[in-house]
């Protein structure tokens, strides 16, 4: 991929606000960044700063007050094909089996390329849940449920995967394991990922680049590349360069 390729995602002078009793609650203020295809970006910021709001605008779920978001050069004015969403809670439909949950997008947008059956099967393989295709969400652990959510987001082969604290409600060990899992899937599918997290170590371990938002109204406070070589091994977390990057980000947030 050449350096001159048009950015996959372009965010320019983006502001967003919620209508609040009478007034307006300004949440995002002149956010600008561009994202190349295949990048893994993590967004850090204090809670309540507007990280989820930013993702909602990127996903076309919330209109921008000013500025714009462009996906593949086209302005995002509403929900787009080519955007996959993963929420903090797996957000599955409890009355649908694992494979029905993963296949939901294909049911909504009846697929042109290939039978849903085989695509669901393949996706279950990708997220490692082939054995649980007929289970109900209530029978899954938190990590498994989140893998279903990732499968559901990936099945339409989106250009960009937007994840809002996807592992936030998991315990520390499961969270690390899911991080590994996500990197494996990322390698497999070559997606562009924008992931909100409140875990600095997670951000450093996973991302090519980390954006740090200020407290509300959010601006981009720091935009730093993470130059750690890939593939990354769990032991990387104890290296000196990792610690320095994490310390730098921690300071930026405070």
């Amino acid at each position: 991929m050449s350096k001159k390729a048009a950015p996959l995602l372009e965010v320019k002078d983006l502001s967003a606000a919620y209508r609040d009793r009478g007034g307006e609650l300004c949440v995002l203020e002149r956010i600008s960044f561009t994202l190349q295809r295949g990048q893994f970006v993590c967004i850090l910021g204090p809670s309540g700063s507007g990280k989820s709001t930013l993702l909602r605008v990127l996903a076309g779920l919330l209109p921008a007050k000013s500025g714009f978001v462009k996906l593949n050069g086209a302005p995002v004015l509403g929900p787009q094909h080519g955007v996959g969403l993963v929420f903090q809670d797996a957000n599955l439909m409890p009355w649908r089996t694992v494979s029905q949950n993963v296949g939901l997008p294909l049911e909504v947008n009846v697929s042109e390329n290939g039978a849903s059956e085989s695509r669901i099967k393949k996706m279950l393989g990708v997220v490692g849940l082939s054995r649980f295709s007929q289970s109900l969400p209530a029978e899954l652990s938190g990590g498994m449920a989140q893998r279903v959510a990732i499968g559901r987001a990936l099945i339409q082969e989106p250009d960009v995967l937007l994840m809002d604290e996807p592992f936030g409600s998991l315990d520390a060990i499961t969270r690390e394991r899911m991080g590994e899992e996500l990197l494996r899937i990322w390698n497999l599918e070559h997606k562009t990922i924008v992931m909100v997290t409140h875990d600095i170590n997670e951000a450093v371990y996973l991302a090519d680049r980390v954006l740090v938002l200020s407290s509300r109204p959010a601006r981009i406070k720091v935009d730093t590349p993470i130059g750690l070589a890939r593939p990354r091994k769990p032991t990387l977390r104890y290296s000196k360069s990792f610690g320095q990057l994490a310390a730098k980000l921690r300071k930026a947030i405070e």
Partner: protein, 266 residues
Amino acid sequence: MAKRRSRFTNNRALQSATLLVVSLSVALAIWLAIVAIADLPAFILPSPGQVWERFLRALADGSLARHMWVTLQEVLLGLLVGVGAASLLGYALAKSRRLERALAPYVVASQSIPIVAIAPLLVIWFGPGLLSKVLICALIVFFPVLINTIVGLHSVPQDLRDLMRSLRASRWQTLRLLELPAALPVFLAGLRIGATLSVIGAVVGEFVGADRGLGFLINVGRGEYDTALVFVAVFTLIATALVLYGLVVLLESRLLWWQRVNGNRT
């Protein structure tokens, strides 16, 4: 897993069946005792035997079935109309805050009018036939179903709504794939209440003005000091209400099977 579940439900079914038999026997024993001790005339309190005899007679001459069929028609049609109207209006109100704000006062106010008070009006306007009873049943069923439809639709998680929006689902797809199944548990709870209320509505309507139906039969029994017949009609009404209730419970367990699956969520 499946085996464990079925044994569990069998156990519970057995338990509640035993409980039912025991409580019925106790009630029957008390009834027998009162009749024996107080030595009341049959037109005040008939004995179980007399009621049973009267039941067989009403069954044999076909009158019981005829009146019951009339009431059942009123109940079912009223339920259909009431549930249909309430779920449609409920959907509209749940979708539009403005509509909800505009109509909520009327909906609530309509509830403070006792159905017994407007039943005579409905009979005057729509005649003593089927129509007035169906409307009374529909009215009495309307409110709980309306409220539960609205509450059910409001209970759909915002994140799932966002998911459907991000998939660019149409209004109809959102209804079919998300809102209907998500609202169903609360909606069916409303239907369960509505089913029994509908029986009450039919009887109220028949009391006010009718020449057939179980409510009418109660009036006839009272007028003729045939108290055993009153008992027969009342028991038939109770049985009808119980069967309807049971059918909704059955429907719930069919449609909401996924709620019974409990896992080891961590």
